[in-house]
Each structure stands twice: as structure tokens, then as C-alpha cells.
């Protein structure tokens, strides 16, 4: 897929995570302004464009934890030239995947049934109002091809900047850490 304009098109998306990676993205601070000149941030939780466009690079934060995530990830993969697993949850499942040692039912019961004084309903997705949880939280690459892995909880702003910079300069970013 070719970029439409001159600037490479960048998107970010968050799945099952804490948004810390996005915050770390914002921690690039004034370099964001520089970045805005060099890339076109087409889609992101930070902007109002909601239908996912065709882009060159997508940073995906978070693990795949529910059925909606699976659907979104498929769209992202289909419309992105490069998919980056952005942060530990996307790369390994991280803390989000700690629930895997327990079953979905146990987790929902603990969170909703046994802590609320009033239980009108439990959001198990049965009524279609919220997405069903997957039985197992999974890292991105178990579901789609991932081109780069950017580790860290979260990756530091410097790491994100260096990574994007390498990518923009046409070089292959190298890994520096695990976890």
C-alpha cells in the first residue's frame, strides 16, 4: 500500500492494555511537534478519525483480550503496511495476560458478582452490549503477522522516538530490551 501524500501515514490503536504506551508516545513531548511535520497521524485514540484508514505504520498497544480486539486487529493488519507490537502487552501479553492462569468465569465472578452489593447483571457479553472476553489473553503475533516488536512497559519515549526515526529513515530498528 502506498502512502497517499508525501508524508508516511501513522496510526496508533489500543487494545487490552493500560494506555501507558500511548502516554509514553506523548512523552516524546515537543518532539511530537517535529513528528507531526514528518508523519501524518491518521488514526489514533487521540484524534477523531474513527474508521481505520490505510496506513504505512500502525503501533498497536495492548494484548488481545476480547472479541472486539480480534476484529480490530484484523482490520489493522489488513490496512497497515507495517504492524508494530507496541509495548509488553502487545508483545507478550504482560500483566493483561496474568488473568490467563484463572478462567474467564472466575475473573468475572470476582470482579462483578462478589464485589457488588447490587448485581443487576454481569457484563459477560451475552446480551451483545459488551464484547465477550477471550478465554485467554494473547499477544498480537499469535493472531496476525507482526513486523516489529517494541518491548517495554512502556517503551520509553526515547525508544519510541528512535524506533520511529529509524523506520522513517528506512533502517531496520534493533531491539534493546526484553520486558
Amino acid at each position: 500500500m502506498d502512502s497517499q501524500g508525501l508524508k508516511p501515514r501513522l496510526a496508533t490503536i489500543w487494545l487490552g492494555g493500560c494506555s501507558g504506551c500511548h502516554m509514553s508516545f506523548l512523552d516524546m513531548d515537543e518532539r511530537l511537534i517535529d513528528l507531526a511535520l514528518r508523519v501524518d497521524l491518521c488514526s489514533s485514540p487521540l484524534v477523531d478519525v474513527k474508521e481505520f484508514p490505510n496506513v504505512d505504520v500502525t503501533l498497536v498497544e495492548g494484548a488481545v483480550a476480547n472479541e472486539a480486539h480480534v476484529h480490530e486487529l484484523e482490520i489493522v493488519r489488513a490496512r497497515s503496511r507495517i504492524v508494530v507490537a507496541f509495548g509488553d502487552c502487545a508483545v507478550t501479553g504482560n500483566v493483561t495476560a496474568m488473568r490467563n492462569a484463572f478462567g474467564v468465569e472466575d475473573v468475572l465472578t470476582r470482579a462483578y458478582r462478589s464485589t457488588s452489593a447490587v448485581v443487576v447483571g454481569v457484563p459477560d457479553g451475552a446480551d451483545g452490549m459488551v464484547p465477550r472476553l477471550l478465554p485467554r489473553v494473547r499477544p498480537l503475533h499469535e493472531l496476525v503477522k507482526v513486523d516489529y516488536f517494541l518491548q517495554g512497559c512502556p517503551p520509553s519515549a526515547d525508544e519510541i522516538y528512535t524506533f520511529l526515526n529509524e523506520l522513517l529513515e528506512g533502517r531496520t530498528p534493533t531491539i534493546r530490551r526484553f520486558g
Binding site: 511530537l32 485514540p45 478519525v49 474513527k50 483480550a65 484463572f102 452489593a117 447490587v118 512502556p154
Partner: protein, 477 residues
């Protein structure tokens, strides 16, 4: 025509959520609900872990306000140890907390909401964002970015990293704060004051143009809850709970946050991962209350710092009782930022801040520990029960946004009824519904212990549930 409109996703909020709007036969809004679509199950996944690890794990509830979770979690840990935390550690924690209030509020105001306020509710959604703001008003945008940077820098220098710093632990903190760090932070103060001033001035100027929004984006009477110190001043790190009603009367005061379960409780609904909190004596759903900047300014007698108090007095004149317009969360947020900068200045001059006595050690001395702190979005409670060996048996988190859930739902319905017309649906109408949510700066990540984002589509369904109309954003075709 009965039907349902779905706004999915809500953008420029921290999290995964959607709104459904149910229409009656005449095509008018009958009901609107705010659904949070994320869930990670922290209450369960931490079971069996040593309580010493909880600040680290709980930080991951939220990347926007990790410090709040770390503090509430460390404080719960302090209780489990049953010890008094060294003064330097308390000062460091306070400092980081103000840094957090500053960066989080800056994010909410400059990065997420100011596009609505400064570019307009009906502006082109493609540029109605921080980068659009950069293009239109680069200086203002840069100031916003730098104000957030200051807050983050405080956290970084105190805690070792900006996000999820593993520095505050049960018993105190793990790092000594250096003089050079303090000196660097002092260097940021002047610019921070200036930026907050500019933002306050800008916001007050445009309030006149937003009377519709002030009146209809969640303006209703309710209870307000927040922590204050014994003199009724704002207290973010420690304080006791005060609840006021819409008239500004104190309903309850000096409640011990450690006994929150005596007066607060939660309800679950199947249509949202976010639970609903309520004030126990009044029951669910009438006991719903609001927390966060607006609530804190409503419950506080004074801010306790000079410049913020000046703004607070002016703020309180906007209503005879409590300020009930949710739109004024924005203003409250700016006033809190001013207060935070003043407190930061105050703390940086504390000689004890740099002390090397930062951590008290002890064995486990209690089976239950509750820690509370004012997070940017409101009061946050962490409640742990451990076994004889200090492993978590049960954890409960009562999170700020969750306590605003009922209010957000009400605001959404109010906004939808006022602005949404099923015939001739326009994007700007829906953006106002979203703006109602943004007032609360809901951190959905926190409130459901997770976070995400969804594609937007609005579908109008007939009584049988089939789609009769679908509204796409202009760029979506």
C-alpha cells in the same frame, strides 16, 4: 420510528467505550447509555501475589495515572505493615502526586478537550485534535505539551521513570531525591504558572459561547465526594472524605477512607464493564455521586494556596450551592493545576524532601490494608486482604471514574436529548454527546482496569432491531 443510535467508539477519552441512544416512536431520544467495553480483571489476576509487588502490578491498571495507583497501593501496603512512613517518603509521594495531577489534567485539557473548546464542537473531525491545534495555535499547543512534560518530569525525577515508576513501596519510597533534580524542577515553575494562567484566561473567555453546553452537558443536582484535610482544604495524598449535596450542604464529613465500605458500595449491570458506585445510606441508584476536580472544589472550603484560592472563590460564585454543571469540570481542572503548581513549589523548598531516611521496614502486621488517594479523576481506593504470608487473598479497587459512572450516564442522556435528532443526524450532534463524556475526563482504563478504542458507527435500528439508517463520520466513506 423506534430505534437505536450507537456512538462507537467515543474518542479523545482514555478508553474503550460506546454510547447507545434509544429512540421512541416519534424518533426522539428515550434513553441513552454509556457502555464501557474493556475489562482486564485486576481484582483477580493479583490474587496470590505478594503485597510488596502490588504497587508495581497495580500501576498497570492505568498508564495515565499510574502514580495514583502506586500511591493507593503503597498506602494499603503501609497499613499491612502497620508502620509510619518516614516524612521524606510522604513528601516525595505528595510531590509525585501533584506532578501526576498536573500532567493528567494537562492531557485532558490540552490534548483531548481543547480541540472541542478552541476549534469548535462542529469543526472538521479530521483536524479536531491536538495536531489540528498545533497547526492553528502552535504556541498554545506547545505550552500544553510542555505543561504535561513538567508533570511527567516530576514523576520521572522522583520515581525514576515517567510511567509505572516502581519507586513507592510499602513502607516508603525506594529512591532518594537529589538536589539537582529539585533545582531542575524549580526551573520549570515560572513557565508552568504562565501556561496555567493563559489557559484559565482562554477558558473563561469562551465560557460565554458555551452556555448551551454548560446547561446541557450534564448539569443536574447530585452528591459530590472528595477528600479534604481537617481545615477543609484540598488534600490529595491524605485527608478524610467529605460529601456535599447540590445545595452545598455537608452530608457527611470526616469519614475515614479506610472504612469506605461502610458508606460506599457498587452495583453491576450487564451492559457495561464499569460498575456503578453509590452512597450507601441513600441506596442505588439515588445515592450516585460525582468525584474529581468539580467535586473536590465543591467539597473543599478552601484550596489552601493563595492563587488557587483566588480562583476558587470566583468559581464558587458560579452557583449558590454546589457547582452542578459538569462542563465546569474543565474549569475546575485548570484551577487544580494552578493549585498543583503552587504545592509543587512549596514542596520543592522542603529540606526534608531530600532526606535519605525514606523507607521503614517491618514484617506483616495486619491482614487488611486500605489505601486511598485523590487521583486526578477523583478518589481512589485500594483494598487488600492478605493471608498469613502476605499473599493477596482478595483485592478490591474503587476507582474514580467508576464513581462518576452514573453521572456520566446521566450527562450522556441529557446531551443526547438536547442535541440528537434522529432525522437529519449530524456529526456535531454526536460530538456533543462525546464532549459530555470528556468533561469527566473518564479514565476508562482505570475504571474497568483496562482501556481501548473502537471504530465509530451510528446505527439506527427499527423496533425489530434491524438497521434502518447508518451514520458514518464524514471521513469514513
Amino acid at each position: 420510528m423506534t430505534g437505536r443510535i450507537e456512538i462507537n467508539p467515543i474518542t479523545r477519552v482514555e478508553g474503550h467505550a460506546k454510547v447507545t441512544i434509544d429512540l421512541d416512536e416519534r424518533g426522539e431520544v428515550a434513553r441513552a447509555r454509556f457502555h464501557v467495553l474493556e475489562f482486564r480483571g485486576f481484582e483477580k489476576l493479583c490474587e496470590g501475589r505478594p503485597f510488596h509487588e502490588m504497587p508495581g502490578i497495580m500501576a498497570r491498571v492505568c498508564g495515565i495515572c499510574p502514580v495514583s495507583h502506586i500511591l493507593a497501593s503503597s498506602k494499603a501496603g503501609d497499613r499491612l505493615l502497620g508502620i509510619e512512613v518516614p516524612p521524606a517518603a510522604v513528601l516525595q509521594r505528595r510531590l509525585a502526586n501533584y506532578g501526576q495531577v498536573l500532567q493528567s489534567h494537562a492531557l485532558s485539557f490540552f490534548h483531548l478537550s481543547s480541540p472541542d473548546l478552541l476549534l469548535g464542537m462542529d469543526a472538521d473531525p479530521r483536524t479536531r485534535n491536538l495536531f489540528g491545534l498545533v497547526a492553528q495555535d502552535p504556541d498554545f499547543a506547545r505550552r500544553g505539551i510542555r505543561l504535561r512534560q513538567f508533570g511527567q518530569r516530576i514523576i520521572e525525577l522522583v520515581g525514576g521513570s515517567r510511567i509505572h515508576p516502581s519507586w513507592s513501596v510499602p513502607g516508603g519510597v525506594a529512591r532518594v531525591l537529589s538536589s539537582s533534580a529539585c533545582d531542575e524542577l524549580k526551573g520549570w515553575l515560572a513557565e508552568a504558572y504562565a501556561t496555567v494562567d493563559i489557559a484559565l484566561t482562554r477558558l473563561k473567555q469562551i465560557l460565554d459561547r458555551h452556555t448551551e453546553e454548560v446547561e446541557h452537558l450534564g448539569s443536574f443536582p447530585s452528591l459530590f465526594l472528595g477528600m479534604v484535610d481537617d481545615e477543609g482544604r484540598l488534600a490529595y495524598y491524605d485527608g478524610r472524605i467529605r460529601i456535599v449535596d447540590a445545595e452545598g450542604n455537608v452530608v457527611a464529613d470526616r469519614l475515614d477512607p479506610g472504612r469506605y465500605a461502610k458508606y460506599l458500595d457498587e452495583a453491576s449491570e450487564s451492559w457495561s464493564f464499569m460498575k456503578h458506585a453509590f452512597y450507601k445510606p441513600m441506596g442505588y441508584p439515588v445515592g450516585a455521586y460525582r468525584v474529581g476536580p468539580l467535586a473536590r472544589l465543591n467539597v473543599a472550603t478552601t484550596a489552601g494556596t493563595q492563587r488557587a484560592d483566588r480562583e476558587l472563590r470566583e468559581f464558587k460564585q458560579r452557583s449558590s450551592g454546589a457547582v452542578c454543571a459538569s462542563f465546569h469540570y474543565h474549569l475546575a481542572r485548570l484551577i487544580e493545576m494552578l493549585h498543583a503548581v503552587e504545592k509543587i513549589e512549596e514542596l520543592l523548598d522542603e529540606p526534608e524532601l531530600k532526606s535519605h531516611e525514606i523507607r521503614a521496614k517491618a514484617q506483616l502486621n495486619r491482614r487488611q490494608g486500605i489505601g486511598a488517594a485523590e487521583a486526578p479523576r477523583g478518589t481512589l481506593f485500594h483494598h487488600y486482604e492478605v493471608d498469613d504470608d502476605g499473599l493477596i487473598v482478595r483485592a478490591n479497587l474503587l476507582i474514580a471514574t467508576l464513581q462518576n459512572n452514573a453521572a456520566i450516564n446521566r450527562a450522556v442522556e441529557q446531551a443526547a436529548k438536547r442535541f440528537v435528532r434522529a432525522d437529519g443526524l449530524q456529526e456535531g450532534m454526536l460530538n456533543r454527546v462525546e464532549a459530555a463524556i470528556r468533561c469527566f475526563d473518564p479514565c476508562l482504563s482505570c475504571s474497568t482496569h483496562a482501556l481501548g478504542q473502537m471504530p465509530l458507527s451510528i446505527e439506527i435500528l427499527d423496533a425489530a432491531g434491524t438497521v434502518v439508517d447508518r451514520l458514518a463520520r464524514p471521513d469514513q466513506v
